[in-house]
Symmetry: C2
Subunit: 282 residues, 2 copies
Amino acid sequence: MTERDATAVSRFAHDTAVQRLDVDRFGAECRAGWRVIGDAAPNGGYLMALGARAMAERADRPDPVTVTAHFLAPPALGPVEVVTELVRDGRRHATVAARIVQDGRECVRLLGTFGDLSRAEGPTRVLREPPPWPAVDTLDEPLRAAPRGTLPEFLDRLDHRMPAETSGWTRGAPSGAGVHGGWCRWSDGHAFDTLALLCVADAYPPVVYDLDVGDLAWAPTIELTVQVRGRPAPGWLATRFTTRALTDGFFEEDGDLWDADGRLVALSRQLALVGRRPTTRG
Amino acid sequence: MTERDATAVSRFAHDTAVQRLDVDRFGAECRAGWRVIGDAAPNGGYLMALGARAMAERADRPDPVTVTAHFLAPPALGPVEVVTELVRDGRRHATVAARIVQDGRECVRLLGTFGDLSRAEGPTRVLREPPPWPAVDTLDEPLRAAPRGTLPEFLDRLDHRMPAETSGWTRGAPSGAGVHGGWCRWSDGHAFDTLALLCVADAYPPVVYDLDVGDLAWAPTIELTVQVRGRPAPGWLATRFTTRALTDGFFEEDGDLWDADGRLVALSRQLALVGRRPTTRG
């Protein structure tokens, strides 16, 4: 498929596409354009979305409700297989386990519950506030201001707009508050769907960069869980990522994602490790 | 084993004990004393701890680092089997999948990463504050004030002390803030270990009871993830559970657990459903 054809569906849908091989097995391809860490490894959220696409098809349910991924080893670019297992097929939800395998090596293990969020009903009471970011058209693209070639290719997939208060770390001045976020959308103009939210939940540099704990390297994710609460309206997504407990090198990254209509559409939490031991001050 | 013998180890250790049957399979027993919902179903955290005990043994690592459980069907009292799979055995951590099975029926599916938290090292920077609860000896036991027989047996396992601000729901006056918590310890006086934290993370009535959304029934947990950050010091554990996003009947319950020395020892998050549709106001 050429780059031109790929615009018929989103680049994301194209690059996370799965092909059913039998009842439990799906073929897919780990594609260029989604790598981080000096383009050495695919973004974890991209892999999670690819795996969850196969899981949703196995579950015969359109939406991830809560999905957990444990990251074992980064796959190289090229073919992968998603091997699924239907754990429980209930009235309202189905639970599916999966593993992403490349050349016989398991790269990601997933466990998730899937459903149809368009049919969810029950009380709503949201005490969280959407992030207080200024209007998107007043904001910079601090990630794009970096010299070409110094940022991972994955950042090109998203159009990121970040308020100054959450991008101090890009200027060598972390706020110390442990907050990242801003507005984002796919660079190709396509709308986010619920699978895309799994990718966006891991689409920012590690929030620990905003803590004043020295010169940190990449932060490997051990485990990422995303709760999807609704199908996002088209348009910019407001994101906020925080960490409030870095302990012995472990930290959580909690995300909340809000659609263009101001509705909370996902909560995420990951456990990650700081990649290199900095000058210890804390 | 008699009740008297059981005090040699904690009731918790006794009731979550596993016996290795072969490399991957463990025998265990779902015991009385841990049930909720009118004593109809075992507490989810109890089952999670039982499963994680087998997983830790399979991993040959003492501590859960992050464990996720999806709850499929409540087991009855009696024998269960924990079938484990060592997914990855790394230098620092091991990842294990498991299922708790009774009479051929899968009840819980788990996925977790295990390690040795006594050897964790790296920077620490905790921005969270421990919960602001008054001193434990000034607090009531609101759950025990209820008429005998109206509370699930599980509540007897823990000595709960709750500040008035988090127990208004027991008096028909939820605060609306979506907060539960207080101090707790095992009723038998034994100290908490890291497996016990998985149980405590699910040891409070659903935090959604503190929202003013009508007469709620039990809230089934879809998925619970606990990040364990450290081994708790002996003594009272301070807990805080919050929900800030009830959407279409789904809500998260976020917990933070602090040991008697004021150290954060675990973060938890579950996704649950309100059990009955109340008079909708939100």
